[in-house]
Subunit: 411 residues, 2 copies
């Protein structure tokens, strides 16, 4: 079963929008066991869209078009598909009514234009999921099929998950259920993790029970994806759960979360469970830690706030810690203790970094100190990070949070 | 002159990497006056890469392949191009020597594999710019041409700017020089700006001196791009400078910067010029303002630091401002004054937001207060922002910075 993605929109060719939809669809197709050999971008030009879809149909069993389903005159994907199918457009009154109601429920009158979205190629069916005013389409062409989804990512994803991926698997005769889970890790290289898992991966190759794949994801760490194919959802889930256990046993505390669990969510959950609160003092990370922690909904119970230090005044006046000539473990530990005390929190976390211009014995750009303080002690660890200023900032954030995570694991 | 981009790499199809290179190249082609109607992604498969390049050559005058020039076995773009050209591969000894020296200068021995990068299709020339170990290629095919660039963005961009775009323009017979400048705006809608500029744009349509185009860019504001085509660089620059003056005169203070000047850079520059310092207290924005300000190099002179308030303890203990039942102008102004005093800064900036759960007279999610304080006064303004929590946070940041910018304009 082969499926090609055709992304439609002149703004994609002009680079005004980066086409992230095709990447996401490509990933989902791979996970569903559907081959995808090409992805194409084309502008809002009827003849060229028709050509792209025809070629994609020739070399594939299915085509997913993405974009061009809006209400304006340059949204012509519907017309292009009708031309490929050799059928006229017909008004779907039910869809028209649904669009009208959507506008009404928001207290607005529907512009007449929007009814264009209810025009579909004859023979096409509309996709059940319809979070916006653009209906998705399933358009049979002989024994092949064209799916049309809007370019709004959330709408596209809902239609992919709810209708298109299951339909593709059914057409492919994939009776097997494919499930996957991502284990998120921090603290080891991809090759290091691969070495730890090598024996188990060889065993999996033989048994065919599941597959493991690595994905380096920058400051999100290295992801280990477990994928299992089984005859039933129950069985697939069972394999995934078993494999998760095995991989966790091998990788230990390198694993910090699964699927959508970010490092900050994991930490806030652990703090809340322990009934503890956190305060942060940031120099190296310039507010990035606060920003990530406060972006988590309902984080305020565990996260009290922080101080962003961009000058010696800030350090001295807000936390009473005397400025040092350059970043060092003692000052960093003192900052963690001071911010903890200032905010009446249980734990204080602090980051400091050696200035770009400093070169000294053991001090060079990328030298970062992470301080941690509780009621009884304040300590600091030193790490050395590669890369430019922005990269060092970002990796300091995740390194600091990871150190805190390890500390919390011991509570 | 038509040019198609072929992005090569299985990881692009699998969604492990989002193809931002094609977007960037598309933008540059448009700016250079080169038409681009299709962009294609294909995996590391020789036959399919050859097919894609052949098709692209048929329907275009030029093709840019991006990726697949590395030293490993799955980097086969060179071989694919040789097949399209119908020529064998030859070793370019000069390039081989250059690669060897690159490794030596980093104190490493070149793996034998890397010499593959010195193999080029016979008849191809290498691109002068070569920041990495992968040489770019210019491969003539009849009166058409294939350019090959590596997938590393910085290497690709250097080759595009230095060799490919000028070569494309030369081939297109574009003797004209095309220059563009972006005016960054905040505070007005795209349609509002278009209305203000309508008469001038009509005049430009007639004169053909330059073109104006809008690009909505989320929290980066709405960009107005001026593009001028002229017989010489000098003349093009003159037109751009003149047009910038005209557009600025029409849009006034909606324009906050040009090209790569971010809002935070503009503010820090203005502060530094005035010899003033800034301190921030963030609740609504959770550290985002601090993060943006501190990300600017050399910002520390003007930016003293800030307080991130995630709890009433933080507000009371660090700044001595009593907590209120919900966000209000008085507390916000008090926070701006308090953080200013606490850090000994000239200006205090504060953000507070109505909690998601609050509904009251004039209070609903998206209600944000922005406080500003100097030595003589502390005030707060109220804004109402649409969207979800994350969007409200981000737009609060830029709105707060923009308010500060307007205040600074009056100094």
């Amino acid at each position: 079963m082969r499926c090609e993605v055709v992304a439609i929109g002149t703004e994609l060719l002009l680079g005004q929008i980066t086409d992230t939809n095709s990447s996401w669809i490509g990933e989902q197709l791979a996970l569903a066991g559907i081959d995808s050999y090409f992805q194409v971008k084309v502008g809002d030009n009827l003849a060229r869209i028709v050509d792209c879809i025809k070629q994609a149909l020739q070399r594939n069993d299915a085509v997913i078009t993405c974009g061009g389903l809006g209400p304006t005159q340059d949204d012509i994907t519907r017309e292009a598909i009708a031309e490929v199918m050799g059928v006229p457009m017909v008004r779907d009154e039910q869809i028209g009514e649904r669009i009208r109601q959507m506008f009404e429920s928001r207290g607005r009158t529907m512009p007449a234009n929007n009814l264009r979205q209810a025009d579909v190629p004859r023979g096409a069916t509309t996709i059940r999921e319809m979070p916006g005013t653009a209906p998705g389409l399933v358009c049979p062409v002989g024994d092949k099929v064209i799916y049309a989804v809007p370019g709004v990512p959330s709408e596209m994803r809902e239609m992919m998950r709810g209708t298109i991926l299951p339909d593709l698997q059914r057409r492919a005769g994939v009776t097997a259920v494919i499930k996957s889970r991502v284990l998120r890790t921090w603290g080891h290289s991809e090759s290091g993790l691969a070495e730890m898992l090598a024996a188990h991966m060889e065993a999996l190759d033989v048994s065919g029970r599941a597959t493991l794949a690595f994905q380096a994801s920058g400051i999100e760490g290295i992801k280990v994806r477990i994928t299992a194919k089984a005859d039933s959802e129950h069985l697939a889930n069972e394999i995934i759960a078993h494999e998760e256990g095995v991989v966790r046993a091998i990788l230990g505390n390198y694993v910090f979360g699964i699927d959508e669990q970010t490092m900050e969510l994991v930490i806030l959950t652990a703090l809340q469970r322990a009934g503890m609160t956190l305060a942060v003092a940031e120099t190296a990370t310039g507010g990035l830690i606060s920003q990530r922690l406060s972006a988590v909904r309902e984080s305020s119970q565990a996260f009290r706030g922080g101080v962003m230090i961009a000058s010696s005044e800030a350090q001295q006046r807000l936390l009473g810690v005397p400025p040092a000539p350059h970043a060092n473990p003692e000052t960093t530990a003192a900052l963690a203790a001071a911010v903890r005390a200032a905010l009446g929190a249980d734990i204080g976390l602090a980051t400091t970094a050696v200035d770009d211009s400093i070169r000294g014995p053991g001090l060079r750009p990328g030298t970062v100190f992470i301080g941690l303080a509780n009621a009884t002690a304040a300590t600091a660890e030193r790490i050395q990070l590669p890369g430019d200023r922005e990269r060092i900032r970002e990796f300091s954030v995740i390194s600091a949070l990871n150190l805190l995570r390890h500390r919390l694991l011991k509570i």
